[in-house]
């Protein structure tokens, strides 16, 4: 049954992906400023505009370009960067792991902070603890990540002469150095999501704890721990998981700012530079990879529901 449901979901996902691919394709082409003129100005790639345009395949009708691009994309070929002439997929392959690592670490940070704090806040509703956590969460939602990152870079440098590493440390070369380098950006990225997730966990758990079966559990004399975690959290966690699924694009989007500040050579910075240089194949490629990835994650989230909640059957 689950397999059939997932297959159905996959079929529904295809139109969304197609619309997304169309958006991905047309959006960068609307960017004013001509990449060909820019390239000619900076580097003499060809004799004149028309020759370079033909060379890059940009002189054909836009729909021809779209279908050709889509056809190749399905086969795993995303074209090559207009600037570096290197295959986009290869370039993404080098950068995607950094962005994903950052996003996953940020999510882990968020979950590790948010779920326990949310549970405590709900179990101790309207106590000092609850108010403290809730205020902290709203503060976490209000402080911009790029400002926190700026402070973390500037203030320790002034106070103790300490600066975060500049230049990316590869995981294979220096594991400890790499983890230390990634930890700070991940925590900063994770804080905002932790705040929102904590509020949701608290809200959902409070809702569940008001249910009749929870009152029954209390009257059976079960320990608070069992009631809150087993009867409460298990039922409250599903919306939280949905939330994690829907927030994943935003976590990945958040890496744009963080990668720029900390100088991490991830995919988001690659995209940011590509937008500035109007490197269409790169913009399209990165966006398509991100969107496909997100669709896949959402499918996985749906599958996870069934595992968590035996009532959900398809």
């Amino acid at each position: 049954m689950l397999r059939r449901y997932l297959a159905k979901r996959l079929v529904v996902a295809i139109p969304s992906l197609l619309i997304a691919s169309l958006i991905v394709f047309t959006l960068p082409r609307l960017i004013p400023g001509d990449v060909v003129a820019m390239m000619l100005e900076e580097k003499a790639y060809a004799k004149d505009l028309e020759e370079l345009r033909a060379k890059l395949g940009l002189n054909r009708p836009i729909y021809v370009q779209y279908f050709e691009w889509l056809g190749r994309a399905v086969q795993g070929d995303l074209g090559e960067s207009l600037w570096t002439r290197r295959p986009v997929l290869e370039e993404i392959g080098q950068r995607l792991p950094i962005t994903l690592e950052l996003a996953v670490m940020a999510l882990v940070v968020a979950i590790v902070i948010a779920v326990p704090v949310g549970v405590i806040a709900a179990a101790r509703q309207d106590t000092v603890q609850d108010y403290t956590f809730r205020s902290a969460a709203i503060l976490g939602l209000s402080v911009p990540g790029f400002w926190l990152a700026t402070l973390v870079i500037v203030l320790p440098a002034i106070w103790w002469g300490w600066r975060p590493l500049t230049g990316y440390v590869e995981i294979g070369k220096d594991f400890r150095g790499h983890v230390i380098q990634m930890a700070l950006p991940a925590v900063i990225l994770g804080i905002a999501f932790a705040a929102a997730m904590m509020r949701l966990t608290r809200g959902m758990l409070l809702e569940v704890l008001r249910q009749d079966y929870v009152r029954t559990a209390w009257s059976k004399g079960l320990r608070e721990r069992v009631i809150v975690l087993k009867h409460g959290l298990r039922n409250a966690i599903i919306p939280v998981i949905t939330y994690i699924g829907t927030q994943l694009p935003q976590v990945i989007g958040g890496t744009v700012v963080i990668e720029t500040i900390f100088g991490l050579p991830g995919m988001s910075r690659f995209l940011f530079d590509a937008i500035n240089q109007r490197d269409y194949p790169v913009i399209q490629g990165v966006n398509l990879v991100v969107v496909s990835f997100i669709v896949a994650i959402n499918l996985a989230v749906d599958a996870l529901y069934a595992a968590l909640d035996p009532r959900i059957r398809y």
Binding site: I138, W147, L200, G203, P249, V256, L271, N287, V290
Partner: protein
């Protein structure tokens, strides 16, 4: 807008009866009583309201409040720490940071309110029509919204900003698209719930047209949802605007916005003048915090069912 919302909250707070009993009491007194009740019930929300009002005043009277112009280089005051003459210090171009923050409020507030108005209006049009008519129209609209929502916001905004170029109006437009897509989903849900009510069916049986049903029966009943979405979204929009400005896609310099004050050439000087790094961020955080708290408080007063949502 904040003022309007408080007035809307008035009957829910419970002063309506008091006004009805004593018709001689002026409208001003009724409003101030509603505000007082709101402040007693939601002290943090009320304090946030004061911050929001202060920001509105800063926006309207920036020329009077700011001691210097936003781009005025003060002679002999390069990177001076906070002092009596320069409350928050000066930057690497000898400009008074407090003055720039006051003018920066104008950008945040203008973009915040304009985006919310435009985005929520679009969201309401999209959400109500999609929820009311349903069928194929709903299906198509929702698939497009799905596709939009599967992109990271920042990526959409950056792409749109790259298309439109930096500038106040373009920031508003690109942020409105996000607000519209997200909000339409929630408003659609509310519309579907309202449309199932018997009175909508009754209106249809009496021969009302779609336009009349939507305007007279559906819209008034989803207004609370729309107002709540709008107030809660304001903080997030100010945050998003500051991130855009930080990345260099906001209002072009030298006009100050809080996000751009933290970026650009100033960053290299922050090690010698840390106040340059501190105050704009404090301004953003305070503003977003105030809007979030006010939004939360208003939601609790206007629609307790949505608490914790």
């Amino acid at each position: 807008m904040a003022g309007n919302v408080v007035i809307q909250a008035e009957p829910a707070v419970g002063s309506g009866q008091a006004v009805a009993r004593k018709p001689e009491r002026s409208r001003g007194a009724a409003i101030s009583r509603a505000l007082w009740l709101f402040a007693r019930r939601k002290p943090i929300g009320a304090a946030s309201g004061v911050i929001v009002v202060a920001m509105l005043v800063m926006t309207l009277f920036a020329e009077r409040i700011a001691p210097y112009g936003y781009d005025e280089a003060v002679r002999g005051a390069r990177m001076k720490p906070p002092s009596a003459a320069h409350w928050l210090g000066t930057d690497n171009l000898s400009r008074d940071i407090w003055s720039r923050i006051v003018y920066g409020a104008r950008v945040s507030i203008t973009i915040g309110f304009a985006t919310i108005l435009l985005g929520t209006a679009a969201a309401a049009a999209l959400g109500v029509s999609s929820g009311y008519f349903g069928g194929k129209y709903d299906l198509v609209v929702q698939r497009i919204v799905d596709a939009w929502m599967s992109f990271p916001y920042l990526v959409i905004i950056l792409s749109v900003m790259a298309v439109l170029g930096p500038g106040l109006l373009n920031v508003i437009l690109s942020l409105s698209i996000i607000v519209a897509a997200n909000g339409s989903r929630v408003i659609r849900g509310a519309t579907i719930a309202v449309a199932q009510n018997a009175y909508v069916e009754a209106a249809r049986a009496m021969g009302c047209g779609h336009g009349r049903i939507v305007v007279r029966h559906i819209l008034p009943n989803v207004t609370a949802t729309i107002i709540i979405l709008a107030t809660i979204g304001l903080g997030a929009i100010i945050l998003a605007e500051s991130a855009l400005s930080f990345l260099g896609f906001g209002v072009p310099p030298p006009y100050p916005s809080w996000g751009s004050m933290l970026s650009g050439s100033g960053r290299t000087y922050m090690y010698r003048a840390p106040w340059m790094a501190v105050w704009p961020g404090v301004a953003i955080s305070l503003a977003v915090f105030a809007f979030n708290m006010l939004g939360d408080a208003l939601r609790d007063v206007l629609d307790p069912r949505l608490r914790g949502a």
